[in-house]
């Protein structure tokens, strides 16, 4: 049996045409609106309270809609956006260094290795400037210069300083801004907040998304929540690799359940491997910790020139060190985009020149920067990151160079959405990392925060009304509708099934094994043979999971093993689709590197003739998904071989 079949191409993405600078403006004007008096009669469910979900819920409530918000954490303030360290891009050009909306647009399309939509990216660049204004007004304490104005720094993949930051905790500060706006709306009664609730199913009635089935993680109660539209802001699926920089709870369940109900899943194989993470220390490892990419502004990456040189780094003289990023990419140096920096690290380690006990690490050295700027300046910029490194490794990075290694960090793929951020199920909107829309095959640093907030504050609140304006014609449905009851029953049965297997392996042991398969074959470098092997292994392991997993306790009340089991079960299905997608994309682009497709000097080799499209996968239930292609057109940024040399 073939792994997949090909269906009709996607005909309409609702992207407007005409001059790119005017598309968003015109589209907004052409969209229908909802009368303020009618808004409060309309209910919108928002799943997830990160930058995208939190900002969307707050903004929709401010507009007057009735919002029901859900998150699995104990408070909306803890969504994983909080862990983003480095910064947020915006085309403010405060530095007068040649930045503009067009340049941010250009950098993002190029950085995405020409696999994103021009219209979407341009819109993102346009609203980026409003995001900074909005966040400052909320009291986000961005770093400032002595004159009282905002400071910016440079980031990978760009030659302008357009990244706004709040020390190494930018994500936290932006998220708290959105959270506070959300809490204000909760206090005003416009948002009904449900923390420690997990979405386990989407309710689709007459082809429209009309609600979700959730489990109260504290009481175990399953309930069906109905609405006029459903917004998923449930983040990425990096935890399919088990070890990633994602929070332990991050999962694909909300997205995957929607996919099973008909939402296309786009480009699942596009995974970002972040070059600067703390290396794995042992089998007990439960997650990987990122060191902000901003460290590459001042840190220099190197390995010894000789294989197996395990001298103390201080004893290795300058001329026996290989500052390989500066050597290979002289114009961008240590600031090459993430995919390139990660693969370069993998290559030197594969050559046997890696450092640290496992040999899977490279040095990130601040000695020069400390000498040039002084320890104080480095402390002010990166103090908290250095402390974090020391706590985890027991080594002082002011004295010894940091050791870093790439780790899974972000997933560019996600549920397919049109220009309005609506999925292939009408009434189901997807925002933030959960959708696939803006980053193509590789995301530039400091663009995730930008996209999350752009979607939540400025895009969705302007596109959702166009859908809700017709809500009068959807027909009244409640939780007793047969489709809603069926969804709920399916959830209950699945929970009972997981609890009743009572096998001899823990959920984590399966998750760990799945992660190893994925990292090995669908990680930094993929090959046809490896992917085929991975698909077989995943299928075998999934079958074993449903035979042998042991989930202790019951469904009543808090049961963390049960939560994990449901999530891992969905990761198995996603993992298979990722491998199929990676296998079918016979080219290398951005975060997807196929060993068979590289230039003579080892760079990614795109194939624009055959693969300049978005791969949107439809679930069939037969194990054989259907591929729908959405062709990508480049009118403003012409695809070239990316070069950062």
């Amino acid at each position: 049996m073939d792994l997949y079949t090909e269906g009709d191409p996607i005909a309409d993405t609702k992207a407007p045409d005409g001059p790119i600078e005017t598309r968003w403006e015109r589209h907004r004007f052409e969209g229908k609106l909802v009368n303020p008096a009618n808004r409060r009669k309309l209910t919108v469910i928002v799943v997830g309270t990160g930058l995208a979900g939190g900002s969307a819920a707050a903004t929709l409530a401010e507009q007057g809609y009735h919002v029901k918000s859900y998150c699995y954490q104990d408070s909306p303030r803890r969504a994983h956006s909080i862990a983003a360290q480095g910064g947020i891009n915006a085309a403010k050009n405060y530095r007068n260094d040649g930045d503009s909306v067009h340049r941010l647009f250009y950098d993002t399309v190029k950085g995405g290795d020409f696999r994103s939509r021009e219209s979407n990216v341009h819109r993102l660049a346009e609203v980026s400037v409003n995001i900074i204004d909005q966040c400052v007004a909320q009291g986000v304490p961005f770093a400032r210069e002595y004159g009282g104005l905002l400071d910016t720094r440079s980031f990978g993949g760009a030659q302008v300083q357009r990244t706004f930051y709040a020390r190494g905790q930018t994500g936290q500060q932006l998220l708290l801004g959105a959270y506070q706006a959300l809490e204000r709306q909760i206090g005003l009664g416009n948002v009904e907040m449900n923390a420690r609730h997990e979405m386990l199913e989407l309710v689709v009635v007459d082809g429209r998304a009309r609600g979700i089935v959730v489990r109260d993680l504290v009481t175990g109660e399953i309930s069906t929540e109905m609405a006029d539209a459903v917004v998923l802001a449930s983040g990425g699926y990096g935890n399919v690799f088990y070890l990633s920089t994602n929070a332990k709870g991050c999962n694909v369940t909300a997205s995957w359940r929607a996919h099973r109900k008909g939402a296309y899943f786009a480009n699942p194989c596009y995974t970002q491997i972040h070059p600067t993470c703390i290396p794995v220390s042992g089998d007990h490892q439960s997650k990987l910790t990122l060191m902000s990419e901003s460290l590459r502004n001042d840190g220099r990456v190197w390995v010894p020139k000789a294989k197996g040189d395990n001298r103390n780094p201080k004893d290795i003289p300058e001329d026996e060190r290989d500052y390989y990023l500066e050597r290979i990419y002289p114009s961008f140096g240590n600031l090459v985009p993430r995919d390139i920096a990660s693969r370069a690290a993998k290559n030197v380690c594969d050559e046997g020149r890696g450092v640290g006990p496992s040999g899977l690490g490279v040095y990130l050295d601040f000695a020069d920067a400390i000498q040039r700027l002084g320890r104080k300046a480095i402390e002010a910029k990166y103090g908290n990151l250095f402390e974090m490194y020391e706590r985890i490794t027991g080594e002082d990075p002011y004295e010894v160079p940091m050791r870093i290694y790439p780790a899974v960090h972000y997933t560019m793929g996600g549920l397919w959405v049109d220009y309005d951020l609506q999925s292939s199920i009408p009434g189901l909107f997807v925002i933030g990392e959960a959708n696939f829309s803006d980053h193509g095959a590789n995301r530039l640093g400091a663009s995730a925060l930008m996209q999350g907030l752009a979607d939540g504050y400025f895009v969705l609140p302007n596109t959702l009304p166009n859908y809700l304006a017709n809500a009068g014609s959807f027909g009244k449905v409640d939780a007793s509708h047969p489709q809603a009851v069926a969804a709920r029953t399916a959830v209950e049965e699945r929970i009972q099934k997981l609890l009743s297997i009572n096998g001899d392996r823990t959920v984590d042991s399966f998750h760990r094994e799945l992660g190893q398969i994925m990292w090995e074959h669908c990680g930094m470098e993929r090959s046809e043979a490896g992917l085929r092997k991975a698909i077989d292994e995943i299928r075998t392991l999934r079958d074993e999971f449903w035979q042998r997993v042991r989930v202790p306790g019951d469904g009543e009340g808090l049961n963390q093993s049960l939560e994990k089991a449901g999530r891992v079960a969905d990761f198995f299905e996603l993992a298979e689709l990722m491998c199929i997608d990676a296998l079918h994309r016979e080219e290398s682009c951005g975060g997807h590197f196929r060993a068979e497709h590289q230039t003579p000097d080892g760079e990614a080799q795109r194939d624009d003739d055959r693969f300049a499209y978005v791969a949107a996968w439809e679930y069939t239930g037969t194990g054989q998904p259907v591929l729908h292609k959405e062709d990508l057109k480049f009118e403003y940024v012409h695809p070239t071989q990316r070069s950062y040399k």
């Binding site: 007004a137 009291g139 104005l149 808090l558």
Partner: protein, 253 residues
Amino acid sequence: MNLTLRIWRQKGPEDKGQMVTYQVPDVSPDMSFLEMLDVLNERLILEGEEPVAFDHDCREGICGMCSLMINGEAHGPQRGTTACQLHMRQFSDGDTIDIEPWRARAFPVVKDLVVNRSAFDKIIEAGGYITAPTGSAPEAHSAPVAKANADAAFESAACIGCGACVAACPNGSGMLFTAAKITQLSLLPQGQPERYTRVIGMVDAHDEAGFGGCTNIGECAAACPKGIPLNTIGRLNRDFLKATTKRAGTPGS
């Protein structure tokens, strides 16, 4: 190393709960504290027991979810460190480690080491924000902020809402959490219009949630994994006094 753990086990909010002893052999010093608990849980599951429920998420010290009282200290013995970032090299072979949940009326135990901290959300809801609906913001550079104020605002804004301050406070007070947000917002020009209504609202919500009063002992700041300074409480007090004496809301006041 080999460790003896004494862990608070409580089936649910109504259960009485008790300390239960577990032996954990072969702990690597490179493990994080939570990874050590993971190892214990994996074993408990295979032995047919219920694993220990504890809150955790990002495991990099920023989400504020983890909340363990370790040997009577919030987040354990290392200063400026959350439980998830605490590594086992801080302990020695043969140690006995007591692990308890945060204890406060405002943070009722949900199960084992998991508590409900929604009281903190209530405090923010009562005024811990600047009213700036999306779309209404002026140009970011229209109000410069002195660097010293911006830096101090950031220092307070670094609060992760974990509740260690409450857990450590002999009075069970949440004043450091409340003061951190008040300090952040009152140091910024954008926070001025709501400055005095904010402090009244948040302090009232704090008291209503059942937290104790502050007696300036300073345990909170010593336990805070993010180093929120104690003087933020002075800023809260000053704003509170002003708010109650200046007849807030009088035009021109």
